[in-house]
Symmetry: D4
Subunit: 246 residues, 8 copies
């Protein structure tokens, strides 16, 4: 019968059941997805650009009330100061390099293994730091290995043993982004590449590194958006959780 | 001492040892990397565009002689016919949908779990097929779930149970590529997204879907190059191998 | 209570009920959405590029069996010929200008009012024809008013009375696409603009007209994809149906 | 006879009569189109960027003198303050979120039905607010439904009943803009999509969302310029007026 | 009084009179603008791409019947052959280099002065030829000076006297299009620059030359579309006519 | 003989004579081209961006010493103030709208005819003002006709008589730039179009208007760089000088 | 004195003498620059695209008559066949891989040192071959080292000694073009990088590799146009000549 | 034997030896490559953008301690002031035009020959100055020849003798970048072209000049990134060193 297509797999009705108990909270200007922790394994994260300071504080407070851990990305220092002054979440912390506000109030069990976060240069550090903070709040341990760009190949080769042991690797690079390809060719795990907007004129705000990484001659490299250390960390953590879960 | 930077990690000399025993074979117009199977877990793959038929046959034959399994991607039918006529690798097979030539001569142990390969529409099938063939030759089982684009959301929801069980998911979509975001928001594993060049005018040969996927509002989505089913399969397989290895 | 957010509006459970009775049919390479006629007011339409002739025939036949009317867009002549030879849908018709295959087997009630489809030049006719065929199978009457581009303004002004009476207008134009702005400034109804890929070098495959229309100095103009007469017709028809329904 | 082409439609002379009684007022640096209310159903709107504060005040005052209602978009706060200090239009109001100045001095009859304005995230609110203010001054009631992006699909499904009742829907989304496609696939009315410039690196100032929406796999979606809530509201209001007029 | 804004210039009514006697002929798929010769000084020109052969023949014949001279641009050879076979315009001529069909049946008075059409290289000749044919049918004499690109500056300097005497100059160049700037710096008349799509990879179908010419460091250079010899000739001829008219 | 190619035209030697008496003055950081007035009919113009205030003052003073008239474009107010304080050119004037500094110290004979400079909107005025100031210092009279964009066509038609009398017309427009095409279709003289960077999101800093104007369906339109009122004025003035010279 | 600016350097008159004895030959459609061998050290090269077969043969023959060596690039096979049939230059040779026609009739003295031409993959060979043929006709010896892309770093390291000895190196690479950066970081000579159009979807016809190379984190890398092996060879040869000349 | 591919060239093992003695120093946020002077002939250079002032000072100090000469590029004035206040490198100098910090503490032997650095305009000076400072610290003498753009060709011709004597030439130009082609056509040495971001609207931040230079009709021109005077100087110096070494 057409109405109930299902042979050998879940029916549409059953699928819909999955969605109908999902809770959220309506703040008027935001619908806070309290179920995300259950469904995806990490809480709703507050992406700050485009939101007013008042909105950020309200969403942060609404999330904090539920007792979970919270991450706000791309937060400006004055936003954090306003949050601090509001005294609504006294334990929130600001990381100036990563531009994040975090609140850790429920226990986080650290992962067994460490994800290497490589950067091609020192200027890529803020993006790597965002990745590190993101991983950390998800319980994923990580280590930043900074300034191993391909212009001095021996600096990278000194890290080879560490890379060969990794379950998944994050590579952060601007300019021509060649580091992703070179690392990809040396290891047997997936590489999550983050292009950055660092570089002279025709890097086009990171487009150059983005295209490089998408065109990597080494397979096994997948790419997230420019400067998006957050998304790289989520992808890498989801992967490593599945590995450690086994 | 400066010469030997190493505190707490492998020395540069040790790192260099890693590289010095790696074999390759020089055909004049190609350096066949016989060591790739060991180093990365899969053989060198022949990307056909830009190579002459003669070159493809020679590389294929050189690889075949070593006894391993072989994959050639983006192969045109007439290339396969020339290979068949050459009688150098009589057991090679052509898959017209995936545009691949494969040779399976050494045993492949199938993976324990299956990777879902979703497509938004029927026109995305060739890219999904390339992913499937690639996974298969690496021993990774997969299942194509076709035509579950977001214009008819119930078609996707009927697959939810299967998706929720997956270790990693490949999403293949053209046009606006929204499927990657919607799937990403529903699952707790990494999503490897493949934009395709399918669509009306301003899809710009896949750039539209590529940008969509890079800008996914759901985190945990990473992206490979346009129409690059091969690379998505390698990333997904490397991830799943680590998971099954534990 | 958090679980059931609903004050003043439908609950999530109720919303989910909407989705769970939606039927589709799995052909392996396609999931035919038989419910679309009910949900959106028009059947699933077959977009031919990227599909094999065999797939198109199968989907067409599966849809035809349900007794509804069918539209396939961007169909090449040889695809129609193969369909005709298959004898599966003997009453299907091909329109060479619009590049469509249609099957009309259930009664179509014509709309009370006519939608004007303007073209800037003769070369824009195929896109206008696709719009006309699409409207027709949805029961929407339309009239193509061809070659009224702004280089000879008097040709457009001769149509002013007709335009002023319209409920909604489709404007199809390539090159600089100025017609959309000029028409938009003269009428009190919505204008759906379709940029076309017609023009010399820097029209960039229609990007020039697309940008023009998006930047229209006359408000009330919204835009569909390049050469996408189909989508313009769907938008315009959905609008006019609501108008006539009152 | 060639001179007077007319069979079955208005002559060119008659068309020209339409244009010859249209009034405007020449301020030297602007030609205020006092006839627009009659011709298009809404007054000339002042787009502020690129105009000096003095020019904006003069145009605003010239329009105010005619007794109609006025809208200025993309107005900076200091512009409004200068206008207030000038005491020329004491009843003008500033909306900081929408960045609009409005003057309501002639009666506005509210529409019978409400247009839903959906946003994918909180950061899209300013664009939605511009749309809401625009609709309002045209007499169109609207409701902003905020933060229903596809990363948490259940938030959108909770609004389904409301969406299914709408005559036309405005969807405001940045990042990958997938919300337009998902909504488009669920309803039987036209969707006016507004891409926003919200997002990480490769959203390219809104180009990513713009391309997504133009390439929507759900038909019935048409698109306005990036961040252009004003234009979306005009389109939607013109449509709904025709519907309510019947 | 507002209705009749006019102080010191023509009233709107008077302006409208200008438009109301303009004739055109409706062929169904085209509106032939027989008045263009009077209004703009040259007949409607048939731009062939996107038109069917049948349409081109019909438009050509309709224009021919009025006795004027006719130009069709970007005409393929087989289009001309079909026109010839139709025997409708036996005196039409085809120019394979310029890809034009012309019919000269009413007397053309040649201009007193000659417009130089420079090309940077031999490969730019087809575009120059299109310009020459266009000028000729408008009665404008011209001379192609071929292959004087800046890589061999002495070739250009040999033409200096001729250039210094010109009323207006057309410069046709691909690759980096530097010729327009160099010529512009040497003369005291306007230069109309035509970028061509000639060149290696990153000329991007003429975009490189187009941008060069728009950015010319020598002022007095204005630019037409890529490969658009036709438009350059019209601009140059309109300019020279005014000069000779005095 | 090869060495002296010349049949029917000036020899290379003669051509070289033209160049060898051209004077310039080396300031170290600039080579002031005192011969430009003779060769091209207007003095070297100072383009300010990228130059230090000190450099601008030095070049301005060096030019002033020769007794000619001077124009500096894109000058910021503080640059003019520094120039004024230096007391080196006490009669220099600043035009804040046009962002120009001018010095008139040698007699300028005004042209017999006036060039119309049309703008689509009020926001295009600064670019039009730059054109007007440029024309003026070259002795060319001009009139700005502001805010005649195509959204209110009657405003443009009220100017038709004036346009029909012009020798050449400058059209300044942002957004979709349609004004150039509409004007081009109404007149028999050349149109110099200037795209401006005015508009919502996808005007891409003027690229949208630029592409529109390059793709104008009305021939006889040539285009200068975005916001480059200066270059449009030079082109138009060079044209009109030739016309008046006859 | 202003007229004769020269302190410490050549006068303008002297400079002009340099240009006035330069010979060329006018074929009507081409001006053959017979002096180029003297001025630049290599003959005028025929770039075939956009030229008719007849034009190519004529230019080739005109150059051949002078007794020098000749190179035609991007020549299609049928062009060579037509040249051969014309019997005008019986000793011309075709290289199908490099797509060049060459004629060697005057002695070429081979360089003392060899320039390495590296390719990342086999598919880059045609571009490398064009470089090799170009170098050869200029007397420059070269060696193609094929398929040393960074995905298998040991293949490149095996060539390190050879690279360290080079005076200048050409690197030809498509996809992400990382090879240029890696090589650049290992050597002490200049690297001329040639991006190729090889790769999956978002390599954008070579733009990806081009941007990579321009953004190389290793300095000392300069770049020529996409697929332009010819230009790389000219640059490298001019450099090496100066080195060997000392 | 496969393991040790080497016939006629260095073995992979030998190659690896090259890399294993390369020293660097790990500062945590940077790996200072002290070996670069040996390997590439110039020290690691500090690219300042994206680094914090603290990081720059630390890296600068770490490099200074080794006794070599140091260059920091794109340094803002306040960075230098902080460095000066730190008193860690009292002899460091700031060049405001070039935006560089330099420390010269080990002897620099000046080159025998001088590299000309040409600029098209005065606004290109900062980029030329960066090139000059870079060359100087590498011991390469250079001379800036400013403002010789092609709009006044005689200014360039006055430098011809100097150009003809050069071993390699750097050309710095914005706008349409034509200077590179014109110079390239006049000399017999390699030209390193640097596009700059100087110019009106559609120069697109230097993309226009970049494309021009890549498409140069004169061969022998290679290009570095936009505004990258540093990289041009390194390339030119590496070339000239090889020349002088012979």
């Amino acid at each position: 019968m057409l109405e109930k297509v299902s042979s050998g797999r879940i029916t549409v009705e059953q699928a819909s059941q999955k969605l109908q108990h999902l809770p959220y909270e309506d703040l008027g200007f935001a619908r806070v997805d309290h179920h995300r922790q259950v469904r995806r394994g990490f809480p709703e994260v507050i992406y700050c650009p485009g939101k007013t300071t008042e909105q950020i504080i309200s969403i942060f407070a609404a999330l904090a009330e539920k007792g979970g851990n919270i991450l706000a990305t791309r937060a400006q220092e004055h936003t954090f100061e306003a949050l601090a002054e509001s005294k609504k979440v006294p334990n929130a912390k600001y990381d100036a390099l990563a531009r994040t506000i975090t609140l850790k109030q429920s226990p986080i069990e650290p992962s067994g293994t460490v994800i290497p976060i490589l950067t091609a240069g020192t200027a890529d550090l803020p993006v790597a730091a965002e990745a590190k903070v993101t991983a950390e709040i998800m319980g994923q341990r990580s280590e930043i290995i900074c300034d191993v760009g391909v212009a001095g190949l021996h600096r990278l080769l000194g890290q080879l043993k560490k890379l060969r042991k990794a379950n998944v690797i994050i590579v952060v690079a601007g300019m021509e982004g060649a580091l992703a390809s070179v690392v990809g060719g040396l290891v047997d795990c997936a590489v999550i590449a983050v292009p950055t907007s660092i570089g002279y004129g025709a890097n086009l705000g990171g487009i150059s590194a983005l295209l490089s990484m998408l065109n990597s001659c080494a397979s096994g490299v997948s790419v997230v958006n420019i400067d998006n250390g957050f998304s790289a960390a989520v992808s890498a953590t989801l992967i490593n959780r599945k590995i450690e879960a086994k």
